[in-house]
Structures are given as C-alpha cells and as structure tokens.
C-alpha cells in the first residue's frame, strides 16, 4: 500500500531511489540481522545493480547501509572511506543470479562476532525493498513494518508460544511467515507487527530453549 510519504518522499541522498535509497536499505537490513555493522562483507551485484550501479553510488549506498546509515544520511557519500577507517573489510563482485532474479538484486554476506549472515534482496522501485532470502532460507521482508526475525528449532508449539508472548505485551501481529530447512530442523520466522517492538518481547523469546537467535528490525521508512 502506498502511503502519503511514499509519494512526498522518501527524503534521500541521490541520485536514484532504487539504486541508491533501496540499495542502502538492503545494507541496513543486513546489519540489523547481523546485530550491527559487520567486520567483513562480500557483496554480489546482479543485473542493473552491477551494470549502472557505479554511477548511482550503489556500492557506497550498500556499504553505508551496512554501517547503519539510512537513505537520508549524508555520510553515504563517503561511506567507503568511513568503512575503511572503521576497519570494515568489504569486497564487491558482479554475479548472475539468473533470469528470474529482479534486475536490482544484491546478495550480501557478512561476518560479525564469529557469525555469518547472508541476505539476498531486491530494490523494487521508489526506494522500497524486498528481502528474499536470509541464510539461504526464503523470506518475505519489506521493512514497511517493524519485523522480528528469528531462527528456532522446528518443534511443535513454537508459533503458538511466540504469538502468546507477543499478545502478553499487547503486540499485534500483521503477518507471520515460517520457512524451514527441513522437517524437524531449523525454522526461520519473520513476524511483522503493528507498532514498535518492545525490548521485553525480544528478551522473552530469546530466553526460550528453542530459540537460536532473534533480531528486531525497526521500520525502514
């Protein structure tokens, strides 16, 4: 759904809503999933991102996002230098993700605190994004609402427990999606909610024995 400030905005660093603002958001979501700016990042660019990204500041936008910058952060202009100063190692390469991939797709692999996170997502126009995969598991994450992302054991009752914990904190679920690597293995859950995510909810879920990790991603716009 389009809202007023999608039309009268976003306020952003130029030059392109999809090649710059959307690219920045893909980087931003990646660092949010990793729990903060990474120590190292390997970024693959597909299609138009690879072909005309140079002139659109796509690399600077993604690296800026990885440092936690938003699309309206003037720091995006010199984000590559800032990343080097901060000791963040990064590399880019062109890739071909096949015909089915959206023309503005990136695959971003990051390392932080001994953990690896890999995101694949597309910039779908006007600065909006769609995250399609996290750690190889299919997701559907747009960042238009605050989102919880968690990895849990695929055991019965986890979904009910999560919705119970959310209800106890009076958090309303807008959408929930569960993807698993295989039956009885691990499940990746994305839960979009109305309104901000209370810290207590994250702590409640984290304390469960079936929960491996959880991240709260604030609304992107």
């Amino acid at each position: 759904m389009t809202n007023l400030f999608d039309i009268l905005g976003p306020t952003m660093v130029g030059p392109s809503s999809s090649h710059t603002a959307g690219a920045c958001r893909l980087g931003f979501v990646t660092q949010a999933l990793a729990g903060g700016p990474p120590e190292r990042a390997e970024i693959e660019l597909h299609g138009s991102f690879a072909m005309t990204g140079e002139g659109h500041g796509t690399k600077r936008a993604i690296v800026g996002g990885l440092l936690g910058m938003r699309p309206d952060d003037a720091g995006l202009r010199d984000s590559l230098a800032r990343a080097r100063q901060a000791g963040v190692e990064f590399s880019f390469r062109t890739t071909d993700l096949g015909e089915g991939a959206h023309p503005n797709t990136a695959r971003i692999r990051v390392w932080r605190g001994g953990r690896e996170t890999c995101l694949r997502g597309a910039s779908i126009g006007g600065g909006r994004i769609r995250v399609e995969e996290v750690d190889g598991m299919g997701v559907s994450l747009t960042g238009t609402l605050p989102t919880l992302v968690l990895v849990a054991d695929d055991v019965p009752g986890t979904i009910a427990e999560i919705s119970g914990l959310l209800a106890r904190r009076e958090v309303n679920v807008a959408a929930m999606r569960v993807d698993r690597t295989g039956r009885g293995e691990r499940a990746l859950m994305t839960v979009e909610i109305d309104g901000p995510i209370p810290d207590e909810v994250v702590r409640d879920i984290e304390a469960k024995p079936w929960a491996h990790w959880i991240r709260a991603i604030a609304r992107l716009a």
């Binding site: 039309i7 130029g14 030059p15 090649h19």
Partner: protein, 309 residues
C-alpha cells in the same frame, strides 16, 4: 490513498472537507499518523526541499560526468528573462534540485528522485510570487500527495513502469493541482489542472544518458515545472478538458504499459542510445551497458535484465 480522483473529491464533498483535509484524513486512517503529525512532517519535507535548492544554487560543482552542475546558476546569472525573474527562478530551482541529486545530495523524491525538482520549484517559487503562508504550502503538498497516490494506483510513478510521463508527468500534475488548490480553484478546476497537465505529457519516454539520473532529467524537470503552471493557469481561468481526469490518467497508464522497454529507464533507447549517448556511457565507465546498446540493444530480454533505474 485514494483510488480515483472522483472517489477523493466525492468523499471530500460528502464530509465537507477540503481536498487537502480529505488527503490528511485518509492518511490518518491508513497509517495512524495524526493530522498534526502529518503537517509537521510535511513542513520538515519542505525544509529539505528548500535546502536542496539553496545547495544547488550555491555551487558550480559539476557531476562526475560533467553533464550537470552549475547550470542552474547559469540561468540566474543572465541579467534578463523572457517572462520575468520568476520564470528564471522556476527553471533554475528545478534544475538545481536535480543537480544536487546527481552529486548524491539530499533531496525529496516526490514522487521519485528523477522528478524531484518539479514540486519544490513550482511550490516555492509560487509561494514567493503569491505570498502563500506555510499553512497554504502544507495544504498544497497534501493535494499533491493525493494526486500522486491516485496516479501510482491507476498508472505508474516510476520511469521503469511508464517512462518519463510517469515521473515528471506525475510530478507536474501534482504541482499543477497544488497551485490550483492554493489559488482558490474549485475541486473541478483542480481536476482540470491535473487532466490538462497529463494530456500534454502523454508518451514522454525515459531515456537517461548512461543510465544516470542527470540528462535529460534535469532539463525535463524544468520544462515539467513550466507545464504545471501552464495547466494551472488554464484551469483557474475555467478552461475545460472534455475527457474526465481519471480517464486521462488511465491513458497514461495504458501508454506506459505499451511503451517499449527501451524507453522505460533501461538506457537502451532514445537519447541514451544515440552515438553520443554511447560515448558518454563509455566515458562514465559502463562498458556492459554500451555493449548492449551497440548490439542494437535493443532486445526486450536485454532490457529486462537492466530493469528499473
């Protein structure tokens, strides 16, 4: 947001709302944001627009391709203007915003980055010339937002979706409606202003040289601003367009969908694919793009790979 101009105007009339109030009311329903909060955020948005113009007019710095930068200042440096200084300011402000955008400055993508110059140049220039208050400007922005929402729903506001008519055409329609509303036009005249704008920009292709949001974008923002004021002037004088505004917007959508993908922001056609356009792309370090352009580029599947800019 509303799905048609007719729906928006009818609901406003039923409730006794102005067109601006009706947009704020819908936004409160959709996003939960209170009207006062919406107005505050619009004021902040206007502030970013003003700063972008100031930044663009205070520097001669060229973009890396040297296609833009300093051109807005050149307009103001001339000691005369064909229609008076307001005309010169209007054009300069539209170009200044796009010049700031090209060098990674902060702009408001209203509705997109490629068309970011139109609404600020029209609204802020007219506010000076006509003495509008900030409150009137906010109302104008709400009306502009309402128009953009309808176009996004019925047609497209993205160059990749519908060519330049979808970007600068939408921005001009938004600006024309805002001016007509603030100047006391009736809802019918606001509708005419939108129809008069869109009909004149139908079919405009999106063909950015080297795939960059620079040329022709900067100049098209300037001419779209003029277009918006021409439509507002005609609408305020009661000139009528016989095809209803929603039907005119639907034509824009139809033309956009049928437009060859080469002309939808892929940089594989139009000005971008001219011999000189190819040389500029080569100098800008885009060998893959140039190769596609030379291959005659022009196959749909190649264009599909490039996608939206």
């Amino acid at each position: 947001m509303y799905r048609s101009i007719a729906e928006w105007f009818e609901l406003a009339a039923e409730r006794g709302d102005t067109l601006a109030e009706a947009v704020a009311r819908r936004e409160t329903r959709d996003s939960g944001m209170e009207p006062a909060e919406i107005r505050e955020r619009i004021l902040a948005t206007l502030d970013v627009m003003r700063k972008a113009i100031d930044e663009g007019l205070s520097s001669d710095e060229e973009s890396p391709t040297r296609m833009t930068g300093g051109r807005a200042r050149r307009l103001l440096a001339r000691d005369q203007s064909l229609l008076g200084s307001g005309f010169r300011e209007l054009l300069a402000r539209a170009i200044a915003t796009l010049e700031v955008n090209a060098r990674m400055g902060l702009i408001v993508a209203a509705p997109t980055a490629g068309a970011a110059g139109v609404l600020p140049s029209v609204l802020l220039t007219m506010a000076e010339l006509r003495g509008w208050s900030d409150d009137q400007l906010v109302d104008g922005m709400l009306v502009a937002g309402g128009v953009g929402g309808v176009i996004a729903h019925r047609a497209s506001i993205a160059g990749a979706g519908g060519g330049c008519q979808a970007e600068t055409g939408s921005a001009a329609a938004m600006a024309a409606a805002a001016v007509t509303f603030i100047e006391g036009g009736t809802p019918e005249q606001v509708g005419q202003a939108i129809a008069l704008t869109v009909q004149g920009m139908l079919g405009l292709i999106c063909d950015p040289v080297a795939g960059l949001v620079e040329i022709p974008c900067a100049y098209r923002n300037a001419t779209a601003a003029v277009h918006a004021l021409a439509a507002a002037e005609m609408a305020l004088a009661g000139l009528d367009f016989p095809i209803p505004v929603d039907e005119v917007i639907d034509v824009m959508g139809e033309v956009g969908r049928k437009m060859d993908v080469r002309y939808r922001e892929t940089a594989l056609g139009g000005l971008a694919a001219t011999p000189t356009g190819q040389r500029i792309a080569e100098r800008a370090g885009m060998p893959e793009l140039v190769e596609l352009q030379r291959r005659g580029g022009a196959k749909g599947e190649d264009a599909a790979r490039l996608g939206p800019s």
